[in-house]
Amino acid sequence: MQAAARRPRTNHLDLAQRILDVARQRGFEPGTRLPEQQIASLCNVSRTPVRAALGLLAERGVVRWEAESGYHLAIDLTAQASVATELPAAEEDELAEAILRDRSARRLDQTVTVAGLMRRYSAERKTVLKALNKLTEENLLDRAPGQSWLFRRTPDDPEAQGDSYEFRLLLEPAAILTPGFRLDGARAATLRQAMEALVTLPDAAFDTREFQRLDIDFHGMLAEGSANRFIADALADHLRLRRLPGIYAGVNVFRLRQSLREHLVILDHLESLQYEVAADLLRIHLRLSRNQRPQAASRGAPALFGTISRPE
């Protein structure tokens, strides 16, 4: 956490990401001019933070500055589903990631305190608080009495995974079937390209992290397409849990590849406006993904599903 002084501010990072989202949604091509005033009004902010955010994107080579005409888009946004990886992480984002990683590995208990986290990560109080607030906003933590925070339950044990799939089986097909569903065509095209590229990789080169990113983006796109904002919000909150470390651990590459093919077929039907078929295929996809191996097995014993308590 020592390099904090050189890190960009979180709000500039957020704005930089929003600028790119707007550019992608509007189909901006490489070379498109990005006037500060236009960007400021599209993002509902003043010109000053826009300048800082564009400067940040210029450092990363995502936009370029020309003395006579100002900022221009420098990359093809349709070539990648998200440019988040292009941007540096803010100090509190890095700390939030470390907290999640350590919770997932059970290095942190379910309850954490600000003082404990300051000690563990040698971080300043304000950075810890920002990280905790970020995780609270993302519904991963709850404020508990005093200076402590409580991690919410995540779908990283068989029982919670089962509940998670039940929830998604109820809501994800409904997101598509609710009248007014709209597919983000540009996002779908970008995703299709990325999924088709990943599905062809051999086992040894398969990138599970890329799968996780595409999977979350695919299901997030379905949620966001729903005309019912409550369904969209509930799913967005829940799908956020799937970006936690360890959620995709232990799934075979064969199944991940099969899952990508299922995504592509669902996408085919969405693009041809066959929403009922797409919703049915989505149900099957979720049921197949839910399939899980036993927790324990031994000679002569029935395989164990679910959880048992710690033997004494």
Binding site: D109, T208, N252, R299, P311
Partner: protein, 427 residues
Amino acid sequence: MTRKASPTIALFPEASFGAALNCVGIAQALRAKGARPVFICHAGFSGVFADYGFQEYQLPTDEPLSESQRQSYWQAFVRRHLPHFRLSPIDQLETYVAPTWQAIVDTAVNAEAPLRQLLARLKPDAVVLDNVIMFPAIAAAGCPWVRVVSCAETELPDANVPPYLSGLGVDDPQRAAFEARYLAACAPAHDRFNRFRADAGLGPLPKGQFLETSPDLNLLLTPTIVRRERAEPLDPARFVYLEGCVRSEGPFEVPVFPRNGGPLVYVSFGSLGAMDVGLIERMLVVFDRLPARFIVNAGGLRDAYRAVPDNVYLDAWFPQPSVVAKSDLFIHHGGNNSFCEALRFGVPSLIMPYCWDGHDNAQRAEETGTGDHIGRDGWTEGVLEKAILGLLADDAMRARLKDNAAQMALKPGTDAAAQAILSLIRI
């Protein structure tokens, strides 16, 4: 004669991960050679093989247990047997081995009728049985059958091979006493099994044996480096030794540890061994002070752990072959699959056995200089630390194991198994 274009091979592993994943490796090689491998599986294992892209046929059971009944069964099983896993092999005979044989006989009896029906419907060109007990329906299936001897080589008795499950050296003076106690302990299950065989039209097996060798083909997962000189060598026409049998898994990305330096040690005691949380917690205390990174398979009880050290990463499941390939040391329970994977990737084994042939592999690892072993119980922190650091520092052992692994890689056991199985099939 020509071989059938796409023969159906029915693989029937016992309901344990070792056998199941062994067979996945063989099935992957069969598929690559154009055959149609399918799995016959016990209730509870469906989905395991489909996740590798194989068709599954689940054996129906008359009284499937509910989830809560299974949980109660396991809660009681673990409470009863964890203390037994700390006993010596000979003292496990009455406490663990005998009741386990009774339970295994139950699985054979219960599977018989549905297995006969399923095989009649499937009409496979060959059946591959990876188990420790015979299913008479297989002998009656009307096609060649293959026995996969997936335990240690001790599973096939011989005067120059120590007794199965004993953990003894070949010339150990306790041999006769162990054999006598073994036969006495498993006699009730054995008598019951022989009566069942007679009812099913099969002849009796000698005392202490529950599975005959196949008249067609027998595969032994016994790499050359740990193979024994038998008093009566096995007939190469019917017995094929495999240099391990390692399945293909996806890549494993080593996680970033908060304390991210030193060699990588992988720890897995299988799903049953992972139930011994107390033992693993004691080990974590030692890991915390060692200059190494530890990846620990905590099975279904990951949530039982708190304050895991910064050089330890816990999870419920790992693509084991891919993890072992990146490790410098593998601490395991002596399951034959784990031992073979360690050998296949040239990684020393530190074996902490708790039951069955884990004892035999522990003994063999030390005898062959492929690893070390320490008892499950009675170890001190100093003993564990010394064993880990000793193996990590043993460059000579590592070099020998890497050379051996290179030899094993030239003759993948999965390919050899698939080739031998397909050689049985003619039309």
